[in-house]
Symmetry: C2
Subunit: 352 residues, 2 copies
């Protein structure tokens, strides 16, 4: 460790994002990006943007954007928090809620950023195991805990919980904040948003990166009781007064306004997922039932790591996690139909 570092820095275990090759040469099915461009309304926003506005700081409260999200989601404006990507929102939430006497809980197979945040904020955690079918068992979350975070649908499994199970989780844990990380919710799961009036311990986190085709924009948000939102604001205002840049707010509001386009893209991805799942099964893959924009698959006759490497060699990136229980799986993002066809062709070749 360098003598100038704070003591905790050497012990950090930073997150490794999926490969982002900058040359665009690959068919990129590794980071769950949307195969379709963002709403055409955004092109107009950008084209007409008066750059003189950029010399001013943004509204530190992002009021217009927050009002737009509140109206869209049917909540009050003081029940909405925005951040520079849902990763930032999650980071603030870990700091705001999860530094407690008991460890927090999240599934053993889940978003791999959660243990990274725990190291950053020195939070203890336990990881109840998914069952053999990679499903979450709500009963595993009944012990004393300092908080719970569950992606719904879960990643990288793609498997969703029903709202009834989430309600049970919230009711069983009235002393803990329960974060439902809904990065992929628009592809088949039901949002826990509807439970916000009932449960002051619920925080729902969503993102513009997936179903809004705006991963490059960096915008995420949280919805929940105003007391939870206040804690997030206290952290944010102790960290960075203006996390959302002016163009980002303008673009995001245009995306929210174009509901038809959003619904259309969402449904196209779902339809492609169903087609792709069928074809993968035809090739002998086990496909976990996905409610998201990716499928987790494994093949009885082919090691996941070599599938990943052979696909990469043929110009297709998928995600391989070198981790217990899922090291025999690859996660494949749903591409356009052409990309899905190219994947199937390459896999047919590999599997022969």
């Amino acid at each position: 460790m360098n003598r100038y570092w704070s003591k905790s820095i050497a012990g950090l275990d930073p997150y490794t994002p999926g490969e982002q090759p900058q040359d665009h040469a690959y068919i990129k099915l590794n980071t769950n990006e949307n195969p379709y461009p963002p709403s055409p309304a955004i092109a107009k926003v950008i084209r007409d943007y008066e750059i003189d506005q950029l010399r001013r700081y943004p509204d530190p409260e992002s009021s217009a954007l927050i009002e737009s999200l509140a109206a869209y989601q049917g909540v009050d404006r003081n029940q909405v928090f925005v951040g520079n990507g849902s990763d930032e929102v999650l980071a603030h939430a870990f700091q705001a809620f999860f530094r407690q006497d008991y460890p927090i809980l999240f599934p053993d197979i889940s978003y791999s950023f959660y243990p990274v945040y725990c190291k950053l904020y020195q939070i203890d955690y336990q990881q109840p195991a998914l069952d053999e079918a990679f499903c979450i068992n709500i009963q595993d979350y009944a012990s004393s805990n300092g908080g719970i975070i569950i992606p719904n649908p879960n990643a990288p499994t793609g498997i969703a919980l029903e709202t009834g199970a989430i309600r049970e989780l919230l009711a069983d844990n009235p002393e803990s904040v329960v974060i439902i990380d809904e990065a992929y919710v628009d592809y088949g799961a039901e949002s826990a948003c509807q439970l916000i009036p009932e449960f002051p311990n619920l925080l729902v986190v969503q993102t513009f990166s997936k179903s809004r085709s705006l991963a490059g924009l960096r915008l995420g948000y949280a919805l929940g009781h105003e007391d939870l939102i206040e804690a997030l604001q206290r952290v944010k205002n102790s960290f960075n007064s203006y996390p959302i840049n002016r163009l980002t707010s303008a673009i995001a509001m245009a995306a929210i306004a174009d509901e038809d386009y959003f619904q259309d893209c969402r449904k196209r991805v779902i339809a492609s997922r169903e087609r792709l799942s069928t074809e993968l099964q035809r090739l002998g893959f086990e496909v976990f039932p996905s409610s998201s924009n990716f499928v987790l698959v494994r093949h009885p006759g082919h090691a996941a790591e070599s599938l990943y490497s052979e696909l990469k060699a043929s110009g297709i990136l998928v995600r391989y996690f070198n981790k217990a229980r899922i090291d025999n799986c690859v996660r494949i993002s749903i591409g356009s139909d052409d990309e899905c066809n190219a994947l199937i062709a390459a896999l047919s070749e590999i599997i022969g």
Copy 2:
């Protein structure tokens, strides 16, 4: 305190940014924004931007932007760190370097975000007092400390340190990271950048918000020894893999490339500052010698708080800090010549 909050949250003392009225009705001389628009090259970047790129995550390393900054500043690419505004860069730096056994040091009159970061990361601090002329005395920073941060020029005084004094500070404190916060450096101070090869404990922080006219974009960066940059990357990669959005990188690179425009705006602001200072002195104000894009002033016959209120009533926003030692001062950002003239007219009226 809400029962769901982490214990530290209620004790936070969030930063209060200057007013950002969203209706644009004021002559806004309160948050040190640039009176001139960003480089016209940016308009072209935005107009030509292919929105399809936004569906992809950014390069998590922001490599192209970092290379562009490294070339501009004459350092290696592994000596550059970028963040979502220099406030984010500073937050990460406090966490990465300042959690030490001894308190950190910064001036009693300085950027008011520093004590906020200290609360967030539970860092002890001491604040050596500026002298009567509001100058920093380097000898006050010789005690055992866990780090030092000094804005150069200082804010809200506008007064700069010479490079010789910074060299002395670095040499006196070989065991501490010394952060020189150069948000305003382009308006008359000399950058400590040139000392980076000599001092492995130096971190220089700069921003696009002021001299680049891009406060609305949110981009800041740090320059220093690669071991310091590595610590910042470890924190960043434990917090948010992709803090810089794609449009921001593209716009910032266009700004860096337009050196003539940058120099021209910078010089115009300096010339306006000198004119404004003279006129304020003519009205009886004491004007602290500024090397930045604002002036700190006080008037023997008029309370600062009422000057602030009366100016606001006449449509001009300046910054008033209700804080010991500077509660008899207002800070005035340098506007366009028209804005400066309007300010002088309003003050002449008020002072009579």
